[in-house]
Symmetry: C3
Subunit: 320 residues, 3 copies
Amino acid sequence: MSAQTVDLPAVPATWKQRHLLDLESLSAEEIKLILDVAERFRPVAVGARHKLSLLSGTTVANLFFENSTRTRTSFSLAARRLGADTIDFSPSGSSLSKGETFIDTAKNIEAMGVDVVIVRHRTPGTPHLLSENIGCVVINAGDGPHEHPTQALLDMLTIRQQRGTIEGLTVALVGDIAHSRTARSNIWGLKKLGAHVILCGPSTLVSRQWEDEGVEVSYSLDEVLPRCDVVNLLRIQFERQLMRPFPSVREYATLYAMNRQRLERARDDILIMAPGPINRGVEITPDVADGPHSVILEQVSNGVAVRMAVLWLLAGQTSS
Amino acid sequence: MSAQTVDLPAVPATWKQRHLLDLESLSAEEIKLILDVAERFRPVAVGARHKLSLLSGTTVANLFFENSTRTRTSFSLAARRLGADTIDFSPSGSSLSKGETFIDTAKNIEAMGVDVVIVRHRTPGTPHLLSENIGCVVINAGDGPHEHPTQALLDMLTIRQQRGTIEGLTVALVGDIAHSRTARSNIWGLKKLGAHVILCGPSTLVSRQWEDEGVEVSYSLDEVLPRCDVVNLLRIQFERQLMRPFPSVREYATLYAMNRQRLERARDDILIMAPGPINRGVEITPDVADGPHSVILEQVSNGVAVRMAVLWLLAGQTSS
Amino acid sequence: MSAQTVDLPAVPATWKQRHLLDLESLSAEEIKLILDVAERFRPVAVGARHKLSLLSGTTVANLFFENSTRTRTSFSLAARRLGADTIDFSPSGSSLSKGETFIDTAKNIEAMGVDVVIVRHRTPGTPHLLSENIGCVVINAGDGPHEHPTQALLDMLTIRQQRGTIEGLTVALVGDIAHSRTARSNIWGLKKLGAHVILCGPSTLVSRQWEDEGVEVSYSLDEVLPRCDVVNLLRIQFERQLMRPFPSVREYATLYAMNRQRLERARDDILIMAPGPINRGVEITPDVADGPHSVILEQVSNGVAVRMAVLWLLAGQTSS
């Protein structure tokens, strides 16, 4: 195990976060610090064939109550590339099926010497609840439709890498805003960093109430597209919808999919993003997904870097 | 990976165990040695943010044929904190579903250079059978209703930490004795270390035959409670019972649950234990589970320490 | 983590392979090089209680779309004993169930900094397709009935260890040739190394077309057995067969199972092999499987060694 060093920025004394529960409660400075640290970790994150020992001896537990191979793998790789040990604590087959409460399960995990719990749960507020009941560092990997802070952080890191800054940019979040924790985290994060945020999608999936938060709401992608620096195409989460929110997938694609025709009417330097997994032909056509404006795979790589940054800032400071 | 040292006790030449199959066949001295070693490992077990390299290069396989995230995780963390590699060999999706025999599966695992097999199986005697057929160290993580030696060891370590000794104490095992491998391992272990053991529960779940082994049997918790130093509340294993052994959960709780009223009639220094996962409101009320007499989470932490001790004593001696 | 050294052979400049997709396209020299390297790794592979750091910092992903605890474990242990990190990326619960394409899943894995992808898939050509679409090293762990190159390599390593050479030997592959990727990889590999290959089984499971490749085809094991140096008993893959290819398991066993009677008519030094998992009483009787001619467990141990060799040759060269 090579323990090559990374030139990490000094962590300001104002950094007091114990957990990462949401972006709504972080300051612009705290978000920028995470992005700065992630930038330094990126070479290790994307496979420079060495790992660090900054979190050696630390145990990180994945406590995922919803399917997510991708996010769980990203967190696991981030943890291990910092030298931490990882365990997956899945609900099926666990004590929860024997009648144990969620908090008791978490307290047991803590009692086994786990330092960090990464939690994904369909109930909003679960990470917050956990953070009040256990002494571990808690990181929200998605709590129902509430927040998914590391996804928004990796989106912002990708924008900043491509444009140099986020301030003053116009970013459209397109699609299923109502069910999207990614949208919510992006809204808070982007606004704090000075972006103009547009929410765009069918009226059944985008609430006008967001205008009270200083966010623009539009039901026409074609109308707002020429003004956008970034378009982030959210996945239609068929599995979360109780009712069909639009007449057909075809109609949705006609109005909101990013395709070549639409791309031609956009800015020359527009960034096309998608949190993935993408439904090719629904939110985005294959030529655009694989085209020069797409930074979808950069987002994935930045996901590992951002998670390394969060883990190190929350769990690596005392042990390093 | 920091390889800080732990001050381990000298292992007496009389320690000849190759496997940990049960507590019935261990001597009091052997049990005490395991507890002594576990005591030294406890700081690492509960998350001192460093790991050891005593079992570096050793491979530990979890061969679990019954669901148990908790015990499997505890063994995995114990192994990794000693520097070992771990693999999970689960039955679903394995060669067993293609017609291979259990022993052939085990021999294959051995042939892949696995040093230690942790086995849980619903058939009593499976660990013993394994130990006769493969060259690996075999550790019993629960074989049907027979034994679960590391659970009893962690229970005893917890009692000894709290009381300084086990000799002369009165320990009640309450509840589902008939289906409990934890009860059986505790009975053998506690008696060897000089405790007076009381088995307490509905007559359908506690056999009078245990009296032949020098164990007290009672059907009334209220009657024996004032004499107890420790009460260990076994989980009602609804999933193992073919017939309902008592009229209702409510009636069971009325007679055998540890609640505040009952606690007031117990000794001031009584220890409340439960092997977990606990059914709050069945064996134990929440106020007692979370109260000052409860050492339930200490038991969980001691589980990692005890498993480190067993792994090191069985597999770490030659390589250290 | 001890990083003891292994005396590795010099890799000739002619070694240009980036992936291991099949044996059909490898040269005899390339196959021999893999076997030579595997020979050096064997002490570490079978549990010498130390691990190497030749692949430290490398991430190896198992991307298994068919059940295989055994092969996946063998690859994982091989990777970890070289110091690599491993992750399992299983299809259930992954983004594939959310509508993502297979190639997008693979590109995501690559973007997370994974260096090597081990892939098993029921569709022939999947590893080849992957290798054209991602930058990772791709290793075929079985693609439908096409090839399973590491299985044939471990079979060949076992023969060479026992006989000193493969050239000039007569090797019979017995049983379900039609559904067997193991058979196909063995055919290509053995022929390249100079063996005479006999395919033997019911006419419904062995095609005469193989004679065009210079391979002998026989429907009678008893007829060819006296000439064989090695008999490799393929598993009847009940789970892959759409129709029953023979009247009964009993009739199959009567004609093709290796049993004591048959063994008595074979050469004194015959080697009995089986890729496992074995169906005792179908392809092989227990006394033969466990008898002195059987090298079945040596095959399993060699599997770890061969996979270490392949991983090191494909991924370890640049980083070591």
